[in-house]
């Protein structure tokens, strides 16, 4: 491995990782000690879901890149790959919830896990064939098996091509990624129905899967753009991060910002206009108290502000501006995620948000250490692609 290529991660020694993991453990446990078991699992699930969405976003972009083979994805590919390599970690991190079964974890979070509640609720009774503990666990394992299986194959073929230069591997990746993308959409739809939609088990919405996939795409694109623009003048990105690529990334964030607004508005407008009691309660719960201000804040700051900034060519040309927009979107994604998920929990509006934030930081510490560790294990750029001129990199 070229030492230079990972130099931007140079400061990350073993102690650094150790400290981060300890901090993560402490942060995850604090809500438990201060606010009790139920609150712990709620906050933990919130943190887990946010970071899982980043892993899945990276996985989705890996698939998309291998299908389209656009040059915009090349400098980002290794970031996407490191991101999807964290999926096994995310699998393990859900186990405390899953294995709790009827005693804790699942029991604290999901109303449909309570046999007495289900007995007295005609709607939940009908959902038992889908919403039951064994089937939920089987599906959980199945989703992760599919995701991890596909991502391992793609990552292996990508690294193998760096080593051997065998170009048939590129076709192999494309041939796996195209059906992989189809599977990705299907599994994500069911996964978020299981883990998030069923927190409010009476409610349903058919756009939900697409809404989440678009949201995680936006989070991930903002994150990798922030990473690359932050290191834009360091090797190996120096000289590679051209205005053209910056514009492409900016346009991708712009497109995803618009798609996020499109899917969010579609869902809201259709439910609001019909005003059916079984559906509209979802939004009523989210408009309670300060919720409506948070909602309005995301409309203004997650749609209008980045939208207007990203329309300008100047923003998309300048790494520092793009970095600002990306970080801004990331921050708003956390707020929006909170607005979507936290009202689903059984607790008073706006209570104990600090616990959610701490758990988010804790799981984030695990995720980031895994991501940086995995990123450092290979070159930051895929050397297999002839479009990345080696000589230019060496003479830059």
């Amino acid at each position: 491995m070229n030492r230079d290529e990972t130099a931007i991660l140079g400061g990350w020694s073993r102690t650094y990782f150790g400290a981060l993991i300890v901090a993560g453990v402490v942060a995850v446990l604090v809500p438990y000690l201060l606010a009790g078991q139920k609150q712990f699992f709620q906050s933990y699930l919130f943190g887990w879901l946010f970071w899982l969405c980043v892993s899945l976003g990276c996985f989705g972009f890996t698939l998309l890149h291998h299908v389209l083979r656009g040059s915009w994805g090349l400098p980002l590919l290794r970031l996407f790959e490191a991101g999807n390599r964290t999926l096994p970690l995310m699998f393990l991190l859900f186990l405390p919830i899953l294995l709790g079964g009827h005693h804790f974890g699942m029991h604290d979070l999901y109303e449909w896990m309570h046999a007495d509640v289900v007995r007295g609720d005609a709607i939940l009774r009908q959902k038992v064939p889908y919403l039951n503990y064994p089937f939920f666990a089987v599906r959980f394992v199945l989703y992760f098996a599919i995701w991890i299986g596909i991502s391992m194959a793609l990552n292996r073929w990508s690294l193998e091509q760096d080593r051997t230069g065998d170009r048939t591997l590129a076709d192999k990746r494309t041939n796996l990624s195209a059906p992989g993308l189809v599977l990705f959409f299907i599994t994500c739809t069911f996964a978020f129905t299981d883990w998030v939609m069923s927190l409010e088990p009476h409610w349903f919405s058919t756009i939900y899967g697409i809404w989440f996939v678009v949201g995680q795409g936006l989070t991930t694109m903002a994150m990798v753009t922030a990473f690359v623009t932050h290191f834009a003048d360091r090797r190996p990105y120096a000289g590679l991060v051209t205005p053209r690529l910056l514009r492409d990334w900016g346009n991708l964030m712009l497109t995803l910002t618009m798609l996020w607004a499109y899917t969010s508005l579609s869902q809201f407008l259709i439910i609001w206009a019909a005003n059916l009691p079984e559906e509209v309660t979802y939004y009523i719960r989210r408009f309670e108290g300060s919720g409506k201000y948070v909602g309005a804040f995301t409309i203004l700051c997650q749609f209008f502000l980045p939208f207007l900034l990203l329309l300008s060519g100047r923003t998309k040309r300048t790494p520092s501006y793009l970095l600002f927009v990306a970080v801004w979107i990331l921050f708003l994604r956390i707020v929006d995620f909170g607005w979507i998920i936290i009202p689903a929990f059984d607790r008073p509006e706006g209570a104990r948000l600090w616990a959610d934030l701490i758990a988010f930081v804790g799981i984030g510490a695990f995720w980031i250490s895994a991501f940086v560790y995995l990123l450092g294990k290979q070159t930051l750029l895929p050397t297999h692609d002839p479009r990345l001129h080696q000589e230019t990199l060496e003479h830059a």
Partner: protein, 504 residues
């Protein structure tokens, strides 16, 4: 930043392994002749006369239907209570959807710098306009008193009437009329340089005057090109949201209501994907025979077919995903009306249409996963026909199937289209074909100057001149043909070649 070396190669349009965008020994002159002669030659091929004759008969049938409809009223159709929307709305949505391929190809693919759009965009844009014309007839006549249609516009009046802005049907008025205006403008502006080419090449006085008037005094000066490019890019920017907005609003016509089968949050993205799906199927349905008829295989190459097939496959999968989510969440909702909807689709009186829909849009397009099928003309044609039928069935499944069996069994009904429904539908197909074939006869159906530009770029790539693509062949390029052959202009970039242009 700009001065630093780019480590990424500039995108190249051609991948030797994937086929070419222009085939054969083409020069600027040969392009002028191949495309221009279709318009300027006096004798159209026999097939053209046959199709136009047939289409003309159907147009007369349409006019007869409309005449009788205005005399008698909308009762001549099969619509009833509870199914107040029948073929009139099915066909409206069907035609509007078909138009979307044109806008996607001309606007979005232009912004994405996808060069493969060049030989099919003009054709698809024309299709958009004619499809919107056919679509517009339906809601207009469905109002029953089309002479009062201007009431739908918010103009200052003394009637004390104001449109109901909360109704998506009024949004439709704005969405569709904007769509028509922008598409027509986009199409016409794109045609100006080609009208000038035809003006310069026409031999008959009438053609010279007609094309001369349409060319708006185009001389091909640098200033003209500069303004043209700017205007075209602005229009592309304006058209892009239309690809999403028009069919989204059409989907709101259904989704904001309470009817099970209409009211689903997935509708907006699923309608948009369905529109693009239907549009590409119609482009192929028309382009494949016309390509054979006029010998345009060198310009609409296998690579174009492959790309269109890939887009059809992708959008088809999204549409199918929509059907499946409706089924799953219909059950998952545990709402009895939603669950009945699932039951009614699978076992109700129209269930055979639902299964036909699943076959046409869900199963048949899966053959496009195979490379060979995507380049095989007959397979593609058959798949496109399945999709044309499937997209019509989809709207039938959504509209009458939901309306005839909604909440109270006592108010259920049945919907059967009458002969006047069918004569109207066939009539609009006739109108569409008639307009399409008139377009083919009088307007260059492939963009001549964009093809020259593409030829120039491909040739420039080969000679390493680093052309940036702004050096268009002017309208007068035919006067001094540049022998730029593309056969020799394949770049050699190996297997990891950028297959998708740039994927933006």
């Amino acid at each position: 930043m700009e001065s630093k070396t780019t480590a990424l190669k500039p995108e190249t349009a051609e991948d030797p392994a994937e086929g070419r965008l222009i085939e054969g020994n083409q020069t600027y002159k040969s392009l002028d002749e191949t495309i221009g002669s279709i318009v300027l030659s006096t004798k159209p091929p026999r097939a053209w006369i046959v199709v136009v004759g047939l289409a003309f008969l159907l147009v007369n049938m349409l006019l007869t239907t409309i005449g009788y409809l205005l005399y008698k009223g909308v009762g001549i159709w099969g619509i009833n209570i509870p199914s107040g929307w029948g073929q009139d709305i099915i066909n409206f949505v069907w035609w509007i959807g078909i138009g979307h391929a044109g806008t996607l190809i001309s606007a979005i693919l232009l912004l994405m710098r996808q060069q493969w759009r060049n030989s099919i965009n003009r054709f698809a844009e024309a299709m958009t306009i004619f499809a919107v014309v056919c679509a517009g007839l339906y809601p207009l006549l469905h109002t029953g008193r089309p002479w009062l249609a201007y009431w739908m516009f918010p103009y200052p009046n003394v009637l004390g009437m104001w449109p109901q802005f909360r109704s998506p049907l009024i949004w439709d008025v704005f969405a569709v009329s904007t769509y028509m205006t922008v598409s027509a403008l986009f199409w016409f502006i794109g045609l100006i340089p080609d009208f000038a080419t035809l003006r310069d090449r026409a031999r008959s006085r009438i053609a010279q005057v007609a094309y001369g008037a349409l060319a708006l005094g185009w001389t091909g000066s640098a200033k003209h090109w500069f303004r043209y490019e700017t205007a075209y890019l602005i229009l592309a920017g304006l058209s892009t949201p239309l690809v999403l907005s028009v069919h989204t609003i059409v989907s709101f016509d259904f989704a904001v209501s309470l009817v099970p089968g209409f009211h689903a949050t997935i509708f907006p993205p699923y309608f948009v994907a369905g529109a693009v799906f239907a549009g590409f199927a119609m482009v192929l349905t028309l382009a494949l025979p016309i390509r054979a008829l006029y010998g345009l295989k060198h310009l609409i190459t296998e690579k174009h077919l492959d790309w269109m097939a890939k887009i059809m496959l992708t959008t088809g999968l999204i549409v199918f995903y929509g059907y499946m989510t409706e089924l799953f969440y219909g059950w998952y909702s545990a709402n009895k009306y939603e669950q009945f909807l699932v039951y009614n689709r699978l076992y109700g009186p129209y269930n055979y249409l639902y299964y036909a829909l699943l076959f046409c849009n869900g199963v048949a397009p899966q053959i496009l996963w195979w490379n060979k099928a995507r380049r095989h003309v007959i397979t593609l044609f058959i798949v496109s026909m399945f999709i044309n039928v499937g997209m019509w069935l989809e709207r039938f499944v959504i509209i009458p199937m939901s309306l005839t069996r909604d909440f109270l069994p006592s108010s259920w009904g049945y919907y059967t289209p009458t002969e006047w429904d069918w004569s109207m539908f066939l009539g609009t197909i006739g109108l569409f074909l008639f307009l399409m074939f008139m377009f083919i006869k009088f307007v260059p159906m492939i963009n001549i100057f964009e093809m020259k530009d593409l030829l120039h770029k491909l040739a420039g790539d080969h000679h390493g001149n680093g052309h940036d693509g702004n050096g268009h062949g002017t309208a007068a390029a035919a006067a001094h043909p540049v022998p730029a052959t593309v056969t020799a202009a394949q770049p050699h970039n190996g297997a990891e070649q950028n297959r998708s242009g740039d994927g933006r």
